[in-house]
Symmetry: C2
């Protein structure tokens, strides 16, 4: 499987959908809508939507079935980046080579743009094609809500802020990665698989797979981003070699969980290898 | 109908439920969870949850059926107050006689507490009692998402911020009220009625009723709060008497919409009169 081709193809699929579900910047309030789109387009690699599609394929269903979930996780991811960049959080001026949303549109609009993207995500997930089983869609709403709430994404960010004042050891760092990064990675795979009709035992295995991949993905991110000197990073505690070894270890554990999925599991496996070993 | 008794009884119902669905402050991250609870408890009059219950009764169903929606709208309302109070928005130090969340917990935690309450709201709405029809629950998720997104709640707040720099006339003010305040009031009535099984024609009438009540409610709020000198207020443009007359006019239009609902509509009617004519 050519993972670059997979990412490119799935990106354009989700991009078209995202463009439909987020109001145009020509519609008022124009600066709010422009701010919502600023980081969303052109966006990054769309790894989370790709994992949604791959999760759906692992359940034996066509990827397109999971389109609402692919868009919803990217909306949540984008909201979290906008709020993390705020002056009261990481106070970042630049992201993906462009000014952050609060630099471009002001702090108030940046807070509101994040809020609106988060609220919209759940509406997108609950809408989409009418053919989807309503129970599966409700389960996807619960999964995404749980990944984004104070026990996961938001709680991980809160603990990350505390960590800067009082850094901890490798275990503390992995616990933060597990909530701040891996929870949304897991929700991507699980909403995709759930909409695709995966049964509870498969969902449970995919959850274990995706959580390990999510932590390893965050380590890979920190390896690529060493110059920022982020305190909550295994690279700081274990050194680059130690951190890379830990990421590989987590990847192996993850891959073993879906070893027997055969052809269906191939997109997930390839995306996991790419996420952990990428050089960009 | 004794509206005070109705509000008291329904408050305790939703308070018990909210206490269950929001993590305790003893669970980590403790300051995040304490911040989420700071404004939520003891909270205000719980008017929005009462409207959810009343909406469900208007559809001929027992109020308790709509409990997840009652909790969810209060979570969204609380998130919006926390973010509106932020230094980059209204910069308020006090609310309901206590320090605002960012004063008590810092700005970063206040942003995160609002985010977590918003994310949690959708999970609560998609969970709750298993007896509810899944299609009705999905419709409730869509309704709440739409009320909270950039076309309504968040868009109204964005336009309110713009309005302060360049104030407009009564029409502009009502347009902001309609999105910033009335949309969530309408979502309260409609999620309640929807979960209770209201058919599309009834939902449409209830939407008209609730939107008018929502604008009138905001005018009543501004009448009670004249000393703040809020620029986006009909009191400023029409004077207290003119504003009160407009609120009464909207209330009459609203009540006419549900004139024929008989006994079932009584809680909605009484809550509407209370919301618009209250002195606290």
């Amino acid at each position: 499987m050519d993972v670059d081709a997979y990412l490119t193809e799935r990106s354009s699929l989700v991009n078209r959908y995202l463009d439909e579900v987020v109001p145009p910047a020509s519609e008022g309030p124009t600066s709010l809508h422009a701010a919502m789109r600023h980081l969303l387009f052109p966006g990054g690699k769309r790894l989370r939507p790709a994992l949604v599609f791959a999760g759906c394929e692992a359940a034996g269903s066509p990827a397109e079935m999971a389109l609402p979930a692919a868009a919803a996780v990217e909306l949540v991811h984008t909201y979290s980046l906008i709020h993390d960049d705020l002056p009261c959080m990481d106070d970042d001026d630049e992201r993906r080579g462009r000014p952050t949303v609060h630099v471009a549109f002001g702090e108030a609009v940046a807070v509101l743009a994040g809020d609106a993207l988060l609220a919209r995500a759940f509406g997108v997930l609950a809408s989409g094609s009418g053919n989807l089983d309503p129970q599966r869609r409700l389960a996807a709403v619960r999964e995404l809500s749980s990944a984004a709430d104070s026990r996961n994404l938001v709680g991980g960010q809160a603990d990350d802020l505390t960590f800067r004042a009082a850094p901890g050891d490798a275990t503390a760092i992995e616990s933060i990665h597990r909530r701040k990064s891996a929870a949304l990675i897991a929700a991507s795979v699980l909403t995709g698989a759930g909409l695709g009709g995966a049964d509870p035992p498969l969902l449970e295995r995919l959850r274990c797979f995706a959580e390990e991949v999510g932590v390893a993905f965050q380590i890979a991110d920190d390896l690529l981003d060493q110059e920022t000197g982020e305190p909550c990073s295994l690279v700081r505690v274990l050194g680059p070699q130690g951190a890379r070894a830990r990421a590989e270890e987590l990847l192996e554990v993850a891959l073993a969980r879906i070893d027997d999925l055969g052809e269906r599991g191939e997109p997930l496996r390839e995306l996991a290898r790419f996420a952990v070993r990428r050089s960009r």
